[in-house]
C-alpha cells in the first residue's frame, strides 16, 4: 500500500502531503528568524552608545538581492515548465536557479572574507584606526583606511563627519596597539548579529542548494516514474526557495541599511 495524497490532493483539505509538511516547516522557520529579529530589535533599542551603520557594502548587498530575486523567478519558471511537461526547460531553469544560488553564496563569502581582512585598531595614544589590512609583521601593522581620535565618528559611516576622513595608508607600531581585531563576530554586538543572521540564512541557502542539486541530478529520475509527484516536489522546493528570499527581504535592509 502506498501512502495516499503524495501527488493528488486530499479532497477535504485540497492539499497534498508535502505541501502541508512544508508550510508547517516554514511556520517554524518564521519563528526561528522571528526570534532572531526580536533579539536584534531588543539589543539595538537597548544599546548604549552609537550603533554601527553603513559598515556593509550596499551595492554588493543590492546585487545579491537582485541575484536572489532572479533565482526566485527561475525557480518558478522551472515549476511552470514541469507543469507544462517540458523536462528540458525545467532542467534549464532549475539549473539557472542553482547557479544563481551559488553566485549568491560566492558573493557572500567574498563579503565574509572582506570582513576578516578588515581591522579595527585602538592605540594606547587614543587613536582609532579602521581599514583593510595591508601588512602585519611583528613590529607593525599597516592598514589602508581611516584614523581618528574620536571613535564615535567611526560608527555611522553614512555621516558627514565620517566622510570627511581621508582614506590613507596607516602604519601602527605593534608596541602602540591596545586592541586589534578584525571584523569577526565578537568585535561588537552589531557584527555578532550580522554574522549570526546572515550565517544562518546562508546555511539555509546551502540546504536549499543541496535539495535543488539532488532534484536536478539523481532526483530527476522521478520525472519518468511519477511525473505529478515530481512536479509537486519542484513546487515545494520552490516554496522553500521563496522563503529564503523572503528572509533576505528583511535581512538586507535591517543589516545593510538601517
Amino acid at each position: 500500500m502506498q501512502i495516499p495524497y503524495t501527488s493528488k490532493p486530499r479532497p477535504d483539505t485540497g492539499l497534498y502531503n508535502a505541501k502541508v509538511g512544508l508550510w508547517l516547516f516554514l511556520a517554524s522557520e518564521v519563528m526561528l528568524f522571528g526570534g532572531l529579529f526580536s533579539a536584534y530589535i531588543l539589543l539595538r533599542t537597548g544599546h548604549e552608545g552609537p550603533w554601527p551603520r553603513g559598515w556593509l557594502s550596499v551595492p554588493i548587498g543590492t546585487f545579491n538581492t537582485m541575484v536572489l530575486i532572479s533565482s526566485s523567478i527561475s525557480a518558478t519558471m522551472a515549476w511552470a515548465a514541469c507543469k507544462m511537461g517540458q523536462f528540458n526547460r525545467f532542467k534549464m531553469f532549475h539549473g539557472i536557479t542553482l547557479l544563481l544560488a551559488i553566485l549568491f553564496l560566492g558573493v557572500k563569502s567574498f563579503e565574509y572574507r572582506d570582513k576578516l581582512t578588515h581591522y579595527w585598531v585602538e592605540t594606547k595614544s587614543g587613536v582609532v584606526a579602521d581599514g583593510h589590512l595591508v601588512k602585519k609583521t611583528d613590529t607593525e601593522v599597516v592598514l589602508h583606511g581611516v584614523r581618528t581620535s574620536d571613535a564615535a565618528v567611526l560608527y555611522d559611516r553614512t555621516s558627514a563627519d565620517y566622510k570627511k576622513l581621508h582614506h590613507e595608508e596607516i602604519t601602527i607600531p605593534t608596541a602602540d596597539i591596545k586592541k586589534i581585531s578584525n571584523y569577526q563576530p565578537k568585535l561588537n554586538i552589531y557584527l555578532s548579529l550580522y554574522w549570526c543572521i546572515t550565517g544562518l540564512h546562508a546555511l539555509h541557502l546551502i540546504g536549499g542548494i543541496l535539495v535543488f542539486g539532488y532534484l536536478w541530478g539523481p532526483g530527476s529520475s522521478m520525472w519518468n516514474r511519477d511525473r505529478e509527484r515530481f512536479t509537486n516536489r519542484i513546487e515545494i522546493a520552490g516554496l522553500y526557495w521563496h522563503f529564503v528570499d523572503l528572509v533576505w527581504v528583511f535581512v538586507f535592509p535591517v543589516l545593510y541599511l538601517f
Binding site: T13, G35, V58, T62, H242, V249, F250
Partner: protein, 115 residues
Amino acid sequence: MSDSTVDLNVRRYVMVSVTIAVAALLVVGISLMDFGNHRINIGLSLVVIAVQAALVLGFMMHLFSEKKLIYSVLGFTGFFLVFLMFLILWAYGEVPDRARTQHVTKPVAEQSTPH
C-alpha cells in the same frame, strides 16, 4: 492546469518579481534620503518591506490562492511571533526605574562586599 493558464501565471510571477526588485531599490533609495530623524527612514522602509513581503508570500508562494488550512497555520504563527516580539520589548522597556542603563565598570573585588 492548461498551458495558457500556466503561461499567464508565469507572466504574473515575472511582473511580481520585477515589482519586488524595484521595491528593493526603493528601500535602498529611502535609506539614502535625509528626513532629519533616522527613525523616519526606518519606518518608511518597513512599510515598503511589508509590501515586498506580502508580494513574495502572496504571489510567489501563492498564499493568496492557497487553502484555508495553510492560512490558519500561518495566522497562529504570526500571532505568536508578534507576541514574542512585543512582549519581550515591552518587558525590557517597562522596568520600575532607569536601573537598566546603569552598569558597573569597577571590578567587583574593589567594591566592598558583605562577606
